[in-house]
């Protein structure tokens, strides 16, 4: 009966194993319906791809958790850049408000006459 299994592997909708990109797309729910259907049909009869999918699933979830920890503990480049931009805008606004207040005080007190 093991032979039967080996024979039917060739009957899969895709005649090749899924690659890393396909496995990740599938696991992250990004595969279009047609692609997911083809992959699932292949998975029904391919032990090698089932193992591959399980190990990729472990990898994806571990990387996702590790990335969450990493993002919490330090800023990423993008995060730093965004923060820098935000600080620059806030600083400019503060400078504008301060100079406006100073001007109002200066002319309001009559010192400017």
């Amino acid at each position: 009966m093991g032979l039967a299994k080996a024979l039917y592997v060739g009957m899969s909708a895709i005649q090749r194993h899924m690659d890393m990109e396909e496995a990740e797309r599938y696991l992250m729910g990004w595969s279009p319906e047609e692609e997911a259907a083809v992959l699932e049909e292949h998975l029904l009869v391919c032990a090698s791809c089932r193992r591959h999918l399980s190990s990729t699933e472990l990898y994806v979830s571990s990387m996702s958790e590790a990335a969450a920890v990493s993002a919490r503990t330090r800023f990423t480049d993008y995060g730093n850049w965004q923060l820098l931009k935000l600080l620059a805008v806030a600083g400019s606004l503060a400078a504008l408000v301060l100079s406006g207040l100073l001007a109002a005080w200066y002319y309001g007190s009559g010192a400017g006459r």
């Binding site: 009966m1 039967a4 299994k5 080996a6 024979l7 039917y8 592997v9 060739g10 009957m11 899969s12 909708a13 005649q15 090749r16 194993h17 690659d19 890393m20 990109e21 992250m28 990004w30 259907a37 699932e40 049909e41 998975l43 029904l44 009869v45 391919c46 032990a47 090698s48 791809c49 089932r50 591959h52 190990s55 472990l58 990898y59 994806v60 979830s61 571990s62 990387m63 996702s64 958790e65 590790a66 990335a67 969450a68 920890v69 990493s70 993002a71 990423t76 480049d77 993008y78």
Partner: protein
């Protein structure tokens, strides 16, 4: 990419499409060997999908239910195109999963079968071995991330955590698609290598207390 998974060695044989027809004919005729062959071909795959979607609770019974439905449907002549057997099996599995989830949701909503649901949820907790594997995998992933240059880490954080698409990441970080793929595959290769090192260290540990 497949070289990483060692799948190149496994060549998928090309078989005549008529094999499904033969199997379907046998099942339709009620041939015991045919039914056994159908089970042999699909049982592990069906089990894999059911386990992934609804967990280990009553798994054998669920696999059995799926095969009963498939066999009876074939015998009633509901599978008109034998070449589509694989797609048909997939459809039945999906329907069963959907029905089971609907039942669980309804039970919870009605508070009628709280025990059933509690039992199901309790069984979804991973066993100690799985927990340990997940924990080790997480530690290895942390090591991989911490050992990467800032830009590479940024790519992985965006992809795996923020779930940004390749196109967006490449555009915003000024990367080509090849660079993006390379960063990802290098990280996965490093993860595999560190994982294997850890595994071999564990298996090489001298037995204590022997």
């Amino acid at each position: 990419m497949q070289a990483e998974t060692g799948q190149d060695a496994e060549v998928v044989p090309v078989v005549k499409e008529s094999s499904w027809s033969r199997l379907v004919d046998l099942v339709r005729a009620g041939d015991a060997a045919g039914i056994e062959e159908l089970y042999e071909v699909f049982s592990t795959g069906v089990r894999f999908f059911l386990w992934r979607q609804i967990g280990p609770q009553d798994l054998d019974d669920k696999v059995h239910d799926v095969f009963l439905i498939i066999t009876q449907s074939i015998q009633r002549g509901e599978l008109r195109e034998p070449d589509r057997l694989m797609g048909y099996v997939r459809t039945i599995v999906r329907r069963q999963v959907a029905a089971y989830i609907e039942l669980a949701v309804r039970s919870r909503r009605n508070h009628r079968s709280a025990e059933l649901l509690m039992g199901t949820l309790a069984d979804r907790h991973p066993d100690p071995e799985r927990t340990m594997i997940a924990q080790q995998s997480h530690e290895v992933a942390m090591r991989v991330l911490n050992g990467l240059p800032q830009r590479d880490r940024e790519v992985l954080v965006r992809f795996y955590l923020q779930e940004q698409g390749a196109e967006q990441i490449c555009r915003e970080l000024n990367l080509t698609e090849t660079q993006f793929r390379l960063i990802k595959s290098r990280a996965k290769a490093r993860y595999g290598k560190l994982g294997q090192m850890r595994l071999s260290r564990r298996t090489n540990l001298p037995e204590t207390g022997a």
